[in-house]
């Protein structure tokens, strides 16, 4: 089967070179634009978004995006059915995992949640429409860029629409480059937007080019006011090199997240539920998200000991494996995982108290370690480390060196501990604390990596009070 992907606005021609990406029996055809065609896409998106998108009120934009989101949430809509059918093939994730993941993710972009985005960042969303009075005096307006270029990455399905929707909310022209590992969803979303509101059809584009195409990147970035890049630090460094000084660059690098479980949460009844929630965070997209846990720190002294808790998680992972099997791994991933696991098994000979739990087919692995004094990343794909601790203060020094890479903590603790630990973790660089089971579903309006979704995209224009006072004397009705 062959399908087309991407979204090109009307630039007066429809014939493009093609790039074919293969996923098992599915061929995905993406338009491959010449530099000249790219130039016309840029001009079109800039012009039309300035004329049309920027003339809409923000509440109209919210209505349109909210409507499109509802389409993708509705299991009887063709958009949704297409996504449920094709995303499992392209990403390799189980159908049920995709279905649940999409719903939980898309809920964040319903109308009332979009309003939350706006209020969270701006306080007064009308700032995006007109000059608004400020408490300090004077007036301000928030202006979105002429053009935002998004360089998306990874295969967590649908993830690109975080930045795409943010760009639309600030009424910017948007051009997004999809990654080869999930080239579909952003294009579908763009198409649905254009079908919902045909006047917006030329305000955005979803394209593909081979990452590292320096000439093309340089050309596009020079015409953009803002470039949002996703990827590892090496990719981001390469992108940054092509971004001129007059264009702002917002890099989102890879992150490490983990869980912390207090002994107060570990009695016989509650521990099982927490292990269930923790395992859910592990199986969702097989830990590929920046908010997915690499390890769980479990406090000693509860009714359920850390090693018992590790076994509980193992049991839950085994249960989930039956209902939501792991994505089929590539040879590279299989080798990495097998050799990692075998190495862990070998090290149990010399490290007392260490346990490696798993099945012979390596569908998941739990490693338990007693007060291990290191902070290490997981090879992912349902591999989790459980480390016991006495006091949070004991583990902080091992986490601290990774400050710029820390993101989410999934926490199970008393309210008092929650706030006390949050203070300590905030100081070492953590930017989000959430409940276990919610690690992979950030709230609408969250501060992604501690930053703002919309504030970082806009520029404020101030009319100072002196200008207003001064203008009074020139009014025709001045006395």
């Amino acid at each position: 089967m062959r399908i087309t992907a991407g979204y090109i606005p009307n630039i007066g021609e429809t014939k493009f070179d093609k790039k074919i990406l293969k996923f098992q029996d599915l061929e995905v055809e993406l338009p491959l634009l010449t530099l000249e065609q790219m130039q016309r896409v840029i001009d079109t998106v800039k012009r039309e978004s300035a004329e049309i998108l920027k003339s809409l009120s923000v509440s109209t934009v919210v209505d349109i995006i909210g409507y499109v989101t509802e389409q993708f949430l509705d299991r009887s809509s063709s958009y949704r059915q297409q996504a449920e059918k094709l995303l499992p093939i392209v990403t390799g994730y189980d159908e049920e995992v995709i279905r649940l993941g999409l719903t939980s993710f898309l809920k964040t972009f319903r109308k009332h949640e979009l309003q939350r985005f706006l209020v969270e960042d701006l306080g007064n969303p009308l700032l995006l429409d007109h000059f608004q009075p400020r408490a300090k005096g004077g007036f301000s307006k928030a202006i979105g860029p002429e053009l935002i270029t998004h360089v998306w990455a990874g295969n967590v399905p649908a993830l690109p629409i975080w930045s795409f929707v943010s760009g639309l909310l600030v009424k910017a022209g948007n051009i997004g480059k999809v990654s080869s590992s999930e080239p579909l969803f952003a294009g579908w979303f763009a198409k649905a937007l254009a079908e919902t509101e045909p006047s917006l059809a030329n305000c955005f584009a979803v394209v593909w080019w081979k990452g590292g195409d320096e000439k093309r990147e340089k050309m596009i970035f020079e015409k953009s006011n803002l470039v949002i890049g996703y990827g590892n630090n090496e990719t981001l460094k390469a992108l940054k090199k092509q971004v001129p000084i007059t264009t702002r660059f917002l890099p989102f690098g890879h992150k490490v997240s983990f869980g912390i479980i207090s002994k107060s949460a570990l009695d016989a009844h509650k521990a099982w539920r927490i292990a269930h929630q923790a395992a859910l965070d592990v199986i969702r997209y097989d830990q590929q998200g920046c908010y997915s846990p690499h390890l769980f720190y479990v406090q000693k002294g509860g009714k359920v000991s850390p090693v018992e808790f590790a076994r509980l998680i193992a049991g839950e992972l085994e249960n989930f494996e039956k209902r939501y099997p792991r994505r089929k791994l590539s040879m590279e991933e299989s080798v990495a995982l097998a050799s990692w696991r075998q190495k862990e098994e070998m090290s149990t000979f010399t490290e007392t108290g260490k346990e490696v739990l798993g099945t012979s087919t390596h569908q998941w692995t739990v490693v338990f370690e007693e007060e291990e004094k290191v902070f290490t990343a997981s090879p992912l794909n349902r591999v989790i480390r459980v480390i016991s601790f006495e006091k949070l203060e004991d583990i902080l020094p091992y986490i601290k060196p990774y400050r710029s890479f820390l993101q989410t903590i999934g926490m199970a603790a008393t309210p008092k501990e929650l706030f006390h630990w949050a203070e300590l973790l905030a100081n070492v660089g953590v930017t989000r604390i959430t409940a276990l089971g919610k690690m992979t579903s950030p709230e609408a309006g969250w501060h992604h990596d501690g930053r703002f979704n919309l504030m970082d995209l806009i520029q404020m224009v101030d009319i100072e009070s002196s200008a207003i006072v001064d203008s009074e004397q020139f009014a025709p009705y001045v006395d």
Binding site: H254, T361, A377
Partner: protein, 362 residues
Amino acid sequence: MTQQREIIEELSQFIKKNQASEEEFNSLALHIFNYQYKHNLPYQTFCRQKGKTPRLVKNWRDIPYVPMSAFKEVPLTCSDPEAAVRVFMTSGTTQGKQGKHFHSTLEIRELSMIINFKERFMKETNRIRMGILFPTEEKMPHSSLAHYLALVMKEFGTEDSCYLLKENGVHIQKIISELEHAEKTGEPFALLGASFSFVHLFEELERLGKTFNLPKGSKILDTGGYKNKSKELDLNEFYQLLERYFGVDRSNCINMYGITELSTQFYDDGNEVVPSIKTGPSWIRTRVINPLTGEEVPEGERGVLVHYDLANFNSVMAVATEDVGMAVDEGFYLFGRVQGAEVRGCSLAVEEFIQLAKGTAK
């Protein structure tokens, strides 16, 4: 006679005979497994954890294999590591830890190398003038490849054979004079060395605009891939360049595949067609497995190579590599080391993390 001596004697006979039925291979493999289970304690623990003891294992395919990385973690040896006559180490890796292969004697390893090399590289020739593109054993005492090349030069090289490297790369004048000498006299010449050194040599020869036409009977042996030490050439280009610069038919350009953790090497029968099929002698067997399940993959599918090398009697006979291959009737295709797993999401990858950890350690 000690148990070790017994095994050595039995192995020597086996290797010298150089042909074995499935039963004969199985029988000696189980004998050695028994010996290793008894004397190699970390391995014993490993086998117990897998629930595979000599009492339960009846077929060599069931003998538990250890990953190459295990050689980095624990001393895998049946004799006192302190008393080893030689320790070969893997080249440094991203994790900075080196794998160690302890040898209580080099007797079997050398016998394995000599008999196999004669059959697969020398064939009917007894001695040939050799030039080695690799450092000497003295320079690299822990390199198994340096030991291999020194041994083949001693056993099969003429008196005039020599090393062709200097401190900072290939010794181009010496190489040119050796190659010109061969052209002039018509005496067959063999160039042996690391694949990446050949790439460096191509670059030098291109710069000088020189090509050679070595006399009939000349051969080339390359091994080990590029290891980020030179430009990465694809296989076809590599052998094309060997043919172009030295005038040696691709059928006489042999690639050797060996790893520090083993004591026996694999060869192909030339590289007219790439990838070539690799085969080993009667005392080593290879399975191609799914690394997650450990099951053999169906023929024609890619998997990871696991070698059962009887000559590895002092360490662990069964070693799982990180090399991807595919089984065919006569042997296997080697597709090379798996590259780091591709990052799919936005979660930090282990490799990245290790780099980072190294950075913060500085």
